[in-house]
């Protein structure tokens, strides 16, 4: 399916800071972990936007903040003309029908005491989607869609393998006919041969139900496979946002370059010919990010300006946004 030009969701300068307390008895606010620190992008109807980054870069927090599972510190999330960040609980609940999520760990995201039927029908119950007499039929229908035997509806999560549980989680996300699904590392807890099954399933469902995905992952080749456009995050900020092919063939930001060169390619011929950019050191703490450009502690091309001035995310060529002074 070709994504439309029109944005389904616009994220504007979204920030989520978690307060850090100090002192045992009288908790004082000592600072903040800037998990997401000024992220802007839009997601077009019918597209998959990949959000790529290493652990701790804020990609999961970004996904959750967009869905208002965490209320943002500041910024806007515009969905069908309304700013989700300003909605009250009741209004949010109604609009959440259209916004769903698939979590990383299918072992902890399903209630072990509920049967599959209860898990998948619960959203319908909460949102009064259809009369209760139709639940069974709809659950069977959904299970069939995600490739599970509808007869399994009365079983419990522990009777299923990781891949099957992820299918249940996907069925639950589909139960309300959402427009937009945040897939937060949906395959990283699964084995390789099972990962491909889930990826193919997500692909098929997107075509069938005209879904829009935010696909969050640290797996560069899976993000390439799934996405139309890709945003790369580092330390709470987007450093590069562009079309998939552009990103993988001609990365602009020094971090993206290093990240792409670090992916192991499953072909010894290519591996032997590649030169790796090995980054020194670790990601700095988001509670105490460096002055200037976030990446200046590890950047092989850092110059004086990078330590003084923070680069903005700017459009360096059509459809390519990059946050680096020297691109």
């Amino acid at each position: 399916m070709k994504p439309e030009k029109k944005a389904l969701i616009e994220v504007k300068n979204l920030k989520k800071h978690f307060p850090v307390g100090s002192g045992l008895v009288l908790r004082r606010r000592a600072g903040a972990v800037k998990a997401v620190d000024g992220v802007s992008f839009d997601i077009r109807r019918g597209e998959t936007l990949g959000l790529l980054g290493e652990s701790g870069c804020g990609k999961t927090t970004a996904g959750r903040t967009i869905l208002q599972l965490y209320r943002p510190t500041s910024g806007e999330v515009i969905f069908s003309g309304r700013d989700l960040a300003k909605l009250g609980r009741k209004e949010l609940r109604t609009i959440r029908c259209q916004l769903q999520m698939v979590f990383q760990d299918p072992y902890s995201s399903l209630n072990p005491r509920s049967s599959v039927h209860e898990i998948v029908s619960e959203p319908m119950k909460i949102h009064n989607l259809c009369p209760s007499s139709e639940y069974s039929e709809r659950v069977s229908d959904l299970l069939g869609k995600v490739g599970l035997n509808p007869k399994f509806a009365n079983r419990y999560p522990h009777e299923f393998s990781g891949g099957q549980r992820q299918r249940i989680a996907i069925a639950r996300a589909l139960a309300l006919n959402p427009e937009f699904i945040v897939c937060d590392e949906p395959i990283s807890a699964l084995d390789v041969s099972i990962q491909a099954q889930i990826i193919n399933l997500l692909d098929e469902l997107q075509d069938e139900f005209k879904l829009t995905y935010l696909f969050i992952s640290h797996d560069l080749s899976m993000v390439r496979h799934m996405s139309h456009r890709v945003g790369v995050m580092y330390l709470g900020k987007i450093v590069e946002l562009t079309d998939r092919d552009q990103l993988y063939s001609d990365p602009q930001h020094p971090y993206t370059k290093a990240l792409l060169s670090a992916i192991p390619v499953h072909d010894p011929e290519i591996e032997a010919r590649r030169s790796r950019i090995i980054l020194e050191g670790d990601v700095p703490s988001p509670a105490n990010p460096p002055r200037g450009c976030n990446f200046n502690t590890r950047c092989p091309a850092a110059k004086r300006r990078c330590f003084e001035e923070e680069p903005d995310l700017r459009e360096v060529s059509s459809n390519t946004w990059c946050a680096c002074h020297f691109v």
């Binding site: 390789v192 099972i194 491909a196 193919n200 692909d203 080749s221 092919d245 990240l259 670090a262």
Partner: protein, 321 residues
């Protein structure tokens, strides 16, 4: 240098006997790097733990097989001899560096412990040796960091400390059990780079266990694919990636998206799930998921057979041939 013959390990559980490792054989030359690839539960870790006799008994038991390290039988060794071997000639690094380090001892203490046990260096010399090791594995400001505790290091740095410990007695063989699984890609690149550089400098043999076919492609000489406790394919690295012959290997490689493939091509996933390892019948373990099965596959488990140039598969059909 290392020879493993028909190694079999079982675990006795309430539900029955689990055949975790079911007759694996391979050998390793001095300085060679071997990759063992497989999904979780395929027996790749238990396989190497068994050859160091690190399987908890009970419930685990090595029921058959032979492990020869430099001509000496490891499985029949006394505990004292075994202790001299472990950490000294064969060293190991694990997947999760935080749980393999002792949280209440400084890393200096932990590194020098091995040195004190296996060599006749005294405390002061051991400490200096530990500083050298930390320098080798690329920990900045090694001298001052020696008195830090594991929680003061990041994941990648902890793995470096583990590697420093493993190298402390110049081992002949380093076993790396998914050392980069818990790490990010950029850190993974650092660790792979480090181990392979050290391997050349110290002429160590390396067994690298992973589920990531990408990681081994760049760093080993030979690869073994395991499935349900058995070796299903074994081949030199280039041969394996250009000409995989077992249906499972072909499926695994097909389920990875290629970085140069056309947009959103459907992945060739393997259908179904891995089999239950309890009371496995004598037939090909991959049978239920295999696209190429013939009648014979259900009758008898295929043995590993040579199909030319060091390439072995356990399949009655030989798909690529």
């Amino acid at each position: 240098m290392l020879e493993v013959r028909n190694l079999q390990t079982t675990f006795t559980t309430e539900d029955g006997v689990v055949n975790a490792v079911n007759g694996i054989s391979y050998s390793l030359q001095r300085g060679e790097a071997l990759g063992i690839v497989g999904e979780s539960g395929c027996g790749k870790s238990v396989g190497v733990l068994s050859l160091m006799r690190l399987i908890p008994e009970p419930p685990g038991k090595i029921v058959a097989g032979e492990v020869l390290f430099q001509g000496r039988d490891v499985l029949g060794m006394s505990m004292n001899d075994l202790r001299a071997l472990r950490g000294n000639q064969i060293a190991m690094i694990f997947q999760d560096p935080l749980s393999s380090l002792n949280p209440v001892l400084t890393i200096g203490k932990q590194i020098s412990e091995t040195v004190l046990l296996h060599t006749d260096r005294n405390r002061e010399q051991a400490r200096r040796h530990a500083i050298d090791l930390l320098n080798i594995v690329g920990i900045p400001d090694a001298k001052n960091r020696l008195d830090d505790y594991p929680h003061q290091f990041s994941g990648g740095m902890r793995q470096r400390v583990m590697i420093a410990m493993a190298l402390s007695c110049d081992p002949l063989l380093l076993i790396a059990d998914e050392p980069t699984t818990a790490l990010d890609v950029t850190t993974q690149a650092q660790i792979v780079d480090l181990v392979m550089r050290l391997r050349k400098e110290l002429e160590m043999a390396v067994i690298w266990i992973t589920h990531d076919l990408g990681v081994v492609a760049g760093c080993v000489d030979k690869v073994i694919v395991m499935y349900a406790g058995q070796i299903v394919e074994s081949a030199p690295i280039r041969e394996f990636y250009s000409n995989p012959r077992h249906p499972y290997s072909i499926g695994l490689l097909g389920s990875l998206p290629k970085l140069d493939s056309a947009s959103r091509q459907k992945l060739n996933s393997i259908q179904g799930l891995p089999p239950n390892l309890i009371d496995m019948p004598d037939r090909c373990p991959f049978l239920d998921r295999c696209k190429y099965r013939i009648r014979d596959c259900g009758m008898k488990s295929p043995p590993l057979r040579n199909i030319g140039s060091d390439h072995e598969i356990a399949c009655w059909v030989d798909v690529g041939g």
